[in-house]
């Protein structure tokens, strides 16, 4: 009997998710032992044509990381959906857009302006990427760059979500163990739509810092001076996203004295991460004077980035207009 097939693919992403999978150490051998890897650009050599040639539903498990930024991303998302029994939105980009989705606040032209004509770019002829370009060797084709970034589940149906930027390796390993067990007929797969490799509460659940009733009179950032190592960062005025962010990472950032930035996304059942975090933070600002409240809020220099750093595409807002 041939081995079940596995693929991993990247859309608009940084590659960190792939590294996180490789970082599961010796368990990667079990992956290789259990599966035939048919596509994984970062690890094995395969061609799109090979995947296209497979019968529909032939791949057992696909981990798709990265958002849908361009035509190629979408094409591959649809292709892999068709070919896969289980499609996992792997990591923050695929499940909620992540940092690349902050570009959704700007029109495509603004983005090109920044990238191809910004102060860090040498481009005296003002060249821009063309979808089609005639060169002596023939016509070249670049995938169309979409106006906004979409999450994987905005484009195709997704079976599971594994959150994180990137997902923690021990969590990936635990999910793979469940898959291995299911393939051996020893376990049931979780219900479709589940979030895997994470908890259902928030980072505070795993954070050992001492917590009290919160009253914020001023925001500060960690570069403004050392934070108390024992006390809840938010209570110290550091905008920690832990209260709104799904647990599973082990509260790594707050343990290291840095604010949680929210990479594990919303906790179970929350529809809009940024709105949740914003209304929570706004609730504990300790002032009734509108002017003072304004002053306190000025301590958050980049609200979109602070509240929607990982979640803009997956939020109710999805994009600017």
């Amino acid at each position: 009997m041939s081995k079940p097939k596995f693929s991993m693919y990247w859309g608009a992403s940084c590659g960190g998710c792939d590294i996180a999978v490789l970082n599961i150490h010796e368990k990667i051998l079990e992956v290789d032992e259990t599966f035939e890897i048919v596509l994984w650009p970062v690890a094995v050599d395969a061609k799109y044509a090979d995947v296209e040639a497979l019968p529909d539903g032939d791949i057992t498990l696909t981990l798709f990381n990265g958002g849908i930024r361009n035509e190629e991303n979408e094409h591959m998302a649809r292709l892999l959906r068709r070919k896969s029994q289980i499609l996992v939105a792997f990591g923050s980009c695929a499940s909620e857009g992540c940092v690349p989705a902050l570009a959704n606040l700007y029109p495509r032209e603004r983005l090109f302006e920044t990238v191809y004509a910004g102060p860090t770019t040498e481009n005296p002829e003002g060249r821009r990427p063309l979808e089609r370009a005639a060169v002596p060797e023939g016509e070249l084709h670049l995938p169309k760059f979409y106006p906004t970034l979409r999450t994987l589940d905005e484009v195709v149906e997704v079976d599971y979500i594994i959150p994180g930027c990137p997902p923690e390796s021990h969590q990936i390993a635990a999910v793979l163990d469940v898959v291995f067990a299911a393939l051996r007929g020893e376990a049931e797969l979780p219900p479709k739509g589940s979030v895997l490799g994470a908890g259902i509460s928030t980072v505070c659940e795993e954070c050992p810092r001492k917590r009290d009733v919160k009253k914020i009179r001023a925001f500060r950032r960690i570069q403004d001076g050392p934070a108390d190592p024992e006390i809840c960062l938010l209570e110290q005025g550091i905008l920690c996203a832990g209260p709104a962010t799904r647990d599973g990472c082990g509260a790594l950032c707050p343990l290291a004295g840095a604010a949680c930035i929210g990479c594990y996304g919303p906790s179970e059942g929350v529809v809009d991460y940024g709105a949740r975090l914003m209304s929570a933070v706004a609730s504990v600002i300790d002032s009734r004077d509108p002017e003072e409240i304004e002053r306190i809020l000025d301590g958050i220099p980049d609200p979109a980035g602070a509240f929607y750093r990982f979640n803009l595409a997956g939020s109710l807002l999805r994009r600017g207009r």
Binding site: R78, R81, R82, E154, V155, V156, E157, I200, S201, T202, V203, C204, E205, R211, D212, V213, K214, K215, C232, L234, G242, P243, A244, D247, P266, S267, E268, G269, V270, V271, R276, L277, S279, A280, S283, V284
Partner: protein, 673 residues
């Protein structure tokens, strides 16, 4: 998201004309037809419109459909849920459908009343209906909460409204705590001389009631006390009352008054005597004070300021003076609360051109009340500020601070009658020439206009016009040494300058300076002007939106003594109703915490206005006490983990309603395989 209740929804939509209230601006028939056709996909099986859905015929329409068509959800598009939510829930219950599976959406307040474009209002109404239909799919059957009603009642404010309320309840046989922040009950009425229109002596009719309240076995009088905290809800409030130190032991004091007599320190009395007279540093506000025990004003007491004197202690025959006494907090449990916290008067210094505080012989109405009171600082003599000269001419200015866009827009209700009373008293006591300056003469209610006629027949001059200025700068012969009232006489159609010896400013009524804080303390709301908001302006004038908290008297808006008394009695009747029933049903709208999802972040811990949230340090989770929770939703909105949900306001319900409201602009996410 899928509907919580998996049985396929069979929804009935009922669109109300509300006579012409809705129908004149919304094409009700079109909304009905649209809902029946377009919302079929959402489970709508029938849509009807009717002239008055709230009528028994309208309700029967719904009931018949529930029974014959097997409806399991109902949406009524009519007025605000404040008005008829209960009506339609009850109608559904009668037909065997849980009342909480019925949504009332407002196309009157939210559409017809606020728009002038019929087409747009009709389109908006469709969206509102769609929101209700989308939402109702997620509604779950709920049962009202039953709460037992504690038999004790708290009345806050010992003016005439509060006294009346306390007496009514006490006379019915139930215990009352009557809290008053001044040293005696009696309120403003105790300061007055005569009362309009009958000219009864205020003290003669008030003091027997004060004594009744003071001696009533069912009334616990807590004067010189203020409410510090309120916890709990209808049926079971825990109220913490701060009893300010009197420095007089009430168990020993006989009220003989020797301490006051011997006290060497005279203090200008800006409260009871309105700044016109003096009191001692140890004092009762007035001779008939209830209770009789004096208080020491520590800011002025020589002992408290300089550390020596103790005259009161030395002369007290029962050793009742206790300089070591401390403020004390007591907590009482009550089932209902009546707020009768009254009003304050407008400060006429805010109208500098009227000269109050600058021109000696410009008086406020409250000063005049004290002056004309036989027990007041002048012994009832109407005299100028020098304390001896009788005025030969007196101007009485109505509407000072009232009906004026710069100060208070509203009519203070009592000033016309009060000013006519002053005119009568001045005439009677001094024979002076009297001029009343009024904008409009408002003498509604029983025997009021008759009193106006009487004052007219007594020869008071009525000048219709708003006074521009009161000055002592004489310009014309005969003005020297006088106050000149500059006014446009709108009936004569000319400017007039009227020289007088004395001016009385009939100042308007304003909410107490701390009305907003008090409202917050008790969890009720204020109007933009600061008056407490009643549950319904016509049909529920003494209840508030907070169950178990009632309002009476001028704290709800300017009103005269008869109306205040009526409201005090009305509030008492409402409370007695609660006590008699013994148990009330309450909306089952409560917040609850999913402990598995609560990370114990403590964001919500300081937010609950009803102190229903507690934190369990051992388990690191937050818990909400359903007996204290009022379902306001503050914590639900604040919980960053989404671990707190509000019954009847789940994310699914709210988002579905929003989706419905955005029906005409919705985009579906396209997922091609």
């Amino acid at each position: 998201m899928s509907a919580v209740n998996s049985d396929s929804p069979r929804i009935g939509v009922y669109v109300c004309h509300c006579g012409s209230n809705i129908a004149h601006m919304v094409d009700v028939e079109e909304v009905r037809a649209w809902a029946e056709k377009t919302l079929q996909s959402e489970g709508v099986v029938v849509a009807r419109d009717y002239k008055f859905m709230c009528s028994s015929l309208g309700q029967e329409l719904i009931q018949k459909d529930i029974q014959e068509l097997g409806l399991n959800r109902v949406v009524v598009a009519a007025c605000s849920p404040h008005l008829h939510e209960k009506t339609f829930r009850a109608a559904c219950e009668k037909a065997g459908l849980n009342g909480y599976l019925c949504e009332l959406v407002s196309i009157r307040e939210h559409a017809s009343w606020v728009h002038t474009d019929r087409e747009a209002a009709t389109e908006k109404s469709k969206m509102i209906v769609a929101g209700g239909v989308k939402r109702v799919r997620y509604d779950e059957p709920l049962d009202p909460l039953r709460v037992p009603i504690h038999k004790r009642t708290l009345v806050v404010g010992g003016g005439i409204a509060g006294i009346q309320a306390a007496l009514e309840i006490a006379n019915a046989g139930y215990p009352v705590y009557l809290v008053e922040r001044e040293a005696s009950i009696g309120g403003h009425m105790a300061q007055f001389d005569k009362t309009f229109p009958t000219l009864d002596c205020a003290a003669c009719i008030l003091t027997p009631k004060m004594v009744d309240a003071g001696e009533h076995p069912n009334i616990t009088l807590l004067t010189w006390s203020e409410v510090a905290r309120v916890e709990g809800s209808l049926g079971n409030f825990q109220v913490t009352i701060r009893k300010k130190a009197r420095y007089v032991d009430e168990d020993l004091c006989t009220g003989c008054g020797i301490c006051t007599e011997k006290c060497p320190k005279k203090v200008l009395d800006t409260v009871f005597e309105a700044g016109l007279g003096y009191r001692k540093a140890i004092y009762t506000p007035f001779p008939q004070s209830v209770p009789k025990y004096p208080v020491i004003d520590t800011e002025n007491c020589t002992y408290f300021v300089k550390g020596k004197c103790k005259a009161c202690q030395i002369f007290c025959p029962t050793g009742a003076i206790d300089f070591e006494q401390q403020d004390e907090e007591i907590t009482v449990e009550v089932g209902n609360i009546i707020l009768a916290t009254g009003f304050q008067t407008f400060d006429p210094r805010r109208i500098p051109q009227y000269g109050y505080g600058r021109l000696a012989n410009v008086f406020t109405s409250l000063e005049f009340e004290r002056m004309s009171n036989a027990a007041g600082p002048t012994g009832g003599e109407i005299v100028l500020r020098d304390g001896k000269t009788r005025p030969e001419s007196v101007a009485i200015v109505h509407c000072v601070g009232s009906r004026d866009r710069r100060y208070n827009n509203y009519c203070s209700a009592i000033c016309c009658m009060q000013s006519l009373k002053f005119a009568h008293l001045v005439k009677e006591r001094t024979g002076a020439e009297v001029y009343n300056f009024y904008i409009d003469m408002r003498t509604a209610y029983k025997d009021y206009d008759e009193f106006y006629q009487r004052v007219l027949s007594e020869g008071a001059n009525m000048v219709r016009g708003k006074v521009a200025e009161i000055t002592d700068a004489a310009r014309l012969p005969g003005e020297e040494g006088k106050l000149i009232v500059q006014v446009e006489d709108t009936l004569a159609g000319r400017q007039r300058r009227i020289p007088v010896d004395m001016v009385i400013l009939s100042v308007g009524l304003e909410p107490q300076r701390d009305a907003y804080e008090t409202a917050k303390l008790f969890g009720i709301s204020c109007s933009a002007n600061g008056w407490y908001t009643e549950k319904h302006p016509k049909l529920d004038p003494v209840a508030t939106m907070t169950e178990g908290i009632f309002i009476a008297g001028a704290c709800q808006g300017p009103k005269d003594i008869p109306t205040s008394v009526a409201q005090g009695a009305a509030a008492a009747a409402r409370v007695l109703g609660h006590i008699q029933v013994g148990e009330m049903s309450m909306e089952p709208i409560r917040a609850s915490v999913d402990e598995a999802r609560c990370s114990g972040c403590r964001i919500c811990n300081g937010l609950c206005p009803f102190n229903a949230i507690s934190f369990h340090d051992d388990r690191r989770v937050t818990e909400i006490n359903p007996a204290l929770c009022q379902g306001c939703g503050t914590c639900v909105a604040a919980c960053p983990a989404g671990a707190i949900s509000g019954t009847g306001f789940s994310d699914a319900q709210v988002l579905a309603q929003i989706e419905g409201l955005l029906w005409d602009v919705r985009e579906t996410v396209e997922r091609r395989p």
